[in-house]
């Protein structure tokens, strides 16, 4: 059996989708959330965190490369699976009456697309911009704290960020439980702890991310 057939089989495609997703979740989303929380502790801590991140450049670059690969695989397989499923499904004409499929599951391609748009905007907003400098313990450091405050003085930006975090939450709530089932761990239909955990993590992470722009906005009022 050749590798190509395995990879592009229905289960193979979903295993790659799940794996690339989990890599992004574990190596990017979780550390990023940890970093964001430091914002709440004021400019010195947040700026020094950003500075320390700079000293870890080899690791950061390694993770960045891994992220690029994961995003590419995830998007490629996601679009492929979604298109194949559209062809395989024949639309019924009468009203469908079961509600087993969750809203989050239905919206996976939409929330996925929104996250991609968000990532680009986010990179343009913060990563790929010249950063102002400030003084920290006698050193000159990038003032990412100030940059963040500055960005979120505009309510439009705050709304955009919060809205797109809803997409992140929706995406995660189906993604986590679905990935687990794809790996062969039984996720029951009813009363599943994995499903519950998946939802709690999604809500927790999305609101932690969303709270930063809101706090920043209120801070500058």
């Amino acid at each position: 059996m050749d590798i190509k057939q395995t990879v592009f089989s229905s289960i193979g495609q979903k295993l790659l989708l799940a794996t690339s997703g989990l890599i992004m979740f574990l190596l990017f989303l979780i550390p990023h959330m940890g970093g964001n929380i430091l914002f709440l502790f004021g400019p010195d801590i947040f700026n020094s965190y950003a500075e320390h991140l700079h000293q870890l450049v080899p690791i950061v670059i390694g993770i960045e490369v891994l992220m690029m690969v994961s995003i590419s695989v995830h998007m490629f397989m996601g679009i492929r699976v979604a298109l194949e499923n559209r062809t395989a499904h024949d639309k019924r004409l009468s009203q469908k009456s079961t509600k087993e499929r969750s809203l989050a599951a239905r919206l996976m391609p939409v929330s996925g697309g929104m996250i991609f748009i968000f990532i680009i905007k986010h990179l343009l907003d913060f990563t790929l911009r010249a950063k102002p400098v400030t003084e920290l313990h006698g050193h000159e450091v990038n003032d990412v704290y100030g940059m963040l405050l500055d960005k979120f003085t505009q309510p439009g930006h705050v709304i955009f960020y919060v809205l797109f975090m809803v997409a992140v939450g929706l995406h995660l709530s189906h993604a986590l439980q679905s990935a687990v089932q794809t790996y062969g761990v039984y996720v029951p239909r009813k009363g599943s702890r994995i499903k519950l955990l998946s939802k709690l993590i999604a809500i927790g992470m999305a609101s932690t991310f969303a709270i930063i722009p809101i706090i920043a906005f209120l801070h500058t009022r």
Partner: protein, 252 residues
């Protein structure tokens, strides 16, 4: 106590190779003790007497074991009752004067043959790829030569309950045959008799399932709600495990 009810039916009519459409019929004087298919029989008698083409629908055992029957009734596979095939659905679950929409199972891999009959032979082709075990025929071997744990035997029986009606495919928003294939793979994977061909079976059956144009399972679980035999999604998890294990092994 049985009653008589009257219903309005909106039924999908289609000839092979032609466009389909809904036709409306009146079904009067229906006994509430009648099954859904018996109700269709009554309507068909009237259609035939008035010189019209009866509604084509598939049926055989009419006791929920053969897997022939099945339609979308008001948007639900086999109607609204859990764990019930269409032939076992009774008219007492409908109200007098109710309108019922009847449509064939919909999936790209299930082309309509006529009216409510769809071609489900794609499922047979998945079976032909490994949904069996190879044994020498002859006298049945002594039962206790191959001991099987009770729990395993029961789980295998649960998977083997699948009657191959195709409701899972029709209920799936992705038109996937994952629950069906999972049940068929798992009923053998759980038993010692299924082990010799285990790896090849799952690879071949999944490859065939993909080739026939079924979609990719995205764990929506609509299939498990639709299944008249209550096949559980744990079989899908087990199929995923079987697939991973089979592909990690190097041997053919």
């Amino acid at each position: 106590m049985s009653k008589k009810i009257s219903l309005t039916l909106k039924v999908w009519r289609q000839n092979r190779g032609e466009e389909g459409r809904f036709e409306t019929y009146q079904a009067g004087n229906i006994d509430t003790d009648a099954s859904f298919l018996e109700m269709l029989d009554v309507v068909n008698d009237e259609l035939t007497l008035s010189g019209k083409e009866p509604i084509a629908f598939e049926h055989d055992c009419r006791e929920g074991i053969c897997g022939c029957c099945g339609s979308l009734v008001n948007g639900k596979t086999h109607g609204s009752h859990e764990r019930t095939t269409l032939c076992q659905l009774h008219m007492r679950h409908f109200k007098d004067g109710e309108m019922i929409v009847i449509e064939p199972f919909r999936a790209t891999a299930f082309p309509v043959i006529k009216d409510l009959i769809v071609d489900r032979s794609a499922l047979d082709r998945i079976i032909a790829e490994g949904g069996y075990i190879s044994v020498k025929t002859g006298n049945a071997p002594e039962a206790s030569t191959t001991p099987v744990k009770k729990a395993l035997a029961e789980a295998a029986m649960d998977a083997a309950e699948c009657i191959g009606c195709g409701a899972c495919v029709a209920a799936c928003p992705n038109g996937a045959a994952m629950l069906f294939t999972a049940a068929k793979v798992n009923q053998y994977a759980l038993l010692p008799q299924g082990h010799p061909e285990r790896a090849q079976r799952v690879k071949n059956m999944v490859a065939k399932m993909d080739e026939l144009g079924f979609g990719n399972c995205s764990n929506e679980y609509e299939c498990a709600v639709a299944c008249p035999k209550g096949i559980d999604v744990k079989n899908i998890a087990a199929l995923n495990r079987e697939f991973i294990k089979a592909n990690l092994k190097c041997e053919k």
